[in-house]
């Protein structure tokens, strides 16, 4: 009973917390741009509201793939909850989840039959570079801690102190990933406004609400992972404060930075990864 209850509670908690944080993200961005912005709860209300909105399926959509891909998105982030907060399992599975997330972006765009979706689908292949910082970060964490299990990494930090001081470049690489996944990010080329809403353009009505449900869980899992991996056992208050601070920082960066074009986005992510990887190796050797 406890395991299933644990999973259900964590999924609901992730959805509510992630939604509020994304609402907060939008609020901070609006305030920086001298706009009042919507209430913080608006993202959550939108997610729920879309479940009751009129939904029709485009004639050129590839059914049932058009719907199935949204279910897969939710499935991978429920897996993220199980591997992360519930069982504190392996970071390699988290890497796999991000790889599948990229495939979901790709296929969600192509399944709709919309040209905007198809452009986003192509950009999703480009933006696979976004996974490079995560993979390099995980490799560095393994060299420092000797394990990829989140429970082992927490145990390591309770003895040796927070990992952010031992592997700051790995933390920077992970933060780049967080920035990539945040709304209106300079790296968010798959959802660039030049292609309307990218792969989400033709997923409207309850399917959009469903995607927002998954994205709020994804945001929570990302922040939880960053705080757990680099700050160790910090308690509930630590997580709340940490998540709010990281969300505010990403909102500030996104509000003041234009969206990069696909080539620049990929090259910048690649450069950050390379510099941080070399920096991490130098720190490890010293």
């Amino acid at each position: 009973m406890y395991l299933m209850a644990d999973i259900l509670i964590n999924v609901i908690l992730a959805f509510l917390t992630g939604s509020l944080l994304l609402g907060f993200h939008r609020k901070v961005m609006a305030r920086i741009q001298l706009r009042p912005g919507p209430p913080i709860i608006q993202y959550l209300l939108h997610s729920l509201k879309f479940f009751f909105k009129e939904t029709s399926f485009p004639k050129t959509a590839s059914m049932p793939f058009y719907i199935g891909i949204v279910v897969i998105l939710a499935g991978i982030w429920v897996t993220g909850i199980i591997v992360g907060p519930v069982t504190k399992g392996s970071l390699m599975i988290i890497f796999g989840i991000y790889a599948i997330h990229k495939i979901v972006e790709h296929n969600s765009g192509s399944s709709s039959g919309s040209p905007y979706g198809k452009l986003s689908c192509v950009r999703a292949v480009f933006s696979a570079a976004g996974e490079l910082p995560l993979f390099a970060g995980i490799a560095i964490i393994y060299f420092v801690c000797g394990s990829m299990n989140i429970s082992d990494i927490i145990a390591y930090q309770s003895i040796h102190g927070a990992l952010i001081f031992k592997a700051p470049f790995a933390a920077l690489m992970f933060f780049t990933l967080i920035l990539t996944k945040s709304p209106y990010s300079p790296f968010a080329i798959t959802k660039g406004k030049d292609i309307v809403s990218g792969f989400e353009t033709e997923h409207y009505g309850f399917l959009r609400g469903y995607i927002m449900f998954s994205e709020s869980i994804a945001w929570y899992v990302l922040l939880w992972l960053f705080l757990t991996i680099f700050f160790g056992p910090i308690g509930i208050l630590g997580y709340v404060v940490g998540m709010i601070i990281i969300t505010a920082i990403t909102a500030f960066i996104n509000a003041t930075t234009p969206m990069l074009n696909p080539n620049h986005s990929v090259m910048l992510q690649f450069t950050i990864t390379l510099v941080c990887l070399i920096g991490s190796i130098v720190l490890l050797v010293l």
């Binding site: 009973m1 299933m4 259900l8 479940f51 009751f52 909105k53 009505g205 399917l207 469903y210």
Partner: protein
């Protein structure tokens, strides 16, 4: 009752029963993981398919065509 509605009801009932089974009978861990990964998304999907508002009959074709005008 149309095909989507019937399928949604079946999915909803099956996913709720599977989640309740995992909650009450505590099967092996891997079974609980499988139920959670498959049934939670299907529960939300079937719930959404049932709660979504459908276009009026005479507007349905227009809605399905609308996003692609101009291409």
């Amino acid at each position: 009752m149309n095909k989507i509605k019937t399928t949604s009801y079946v999915l909803l009932i099956v996913s709720v029963l599977a989640i309740l089974y995992a909650l009450i009978f505590c099967p092996a861990d891997w079974i609980v993981y499988a139920i959670a990964i498959v049934c939670i998304p299907f529960f939300v999907l079937s719930f959404g398919l049932l709660t979504m508002s459908k276009p009026k009959k005479d507007e349905e074709e227009e809605r399905r065509e609308e996003p692609f005008i101009g291409y």
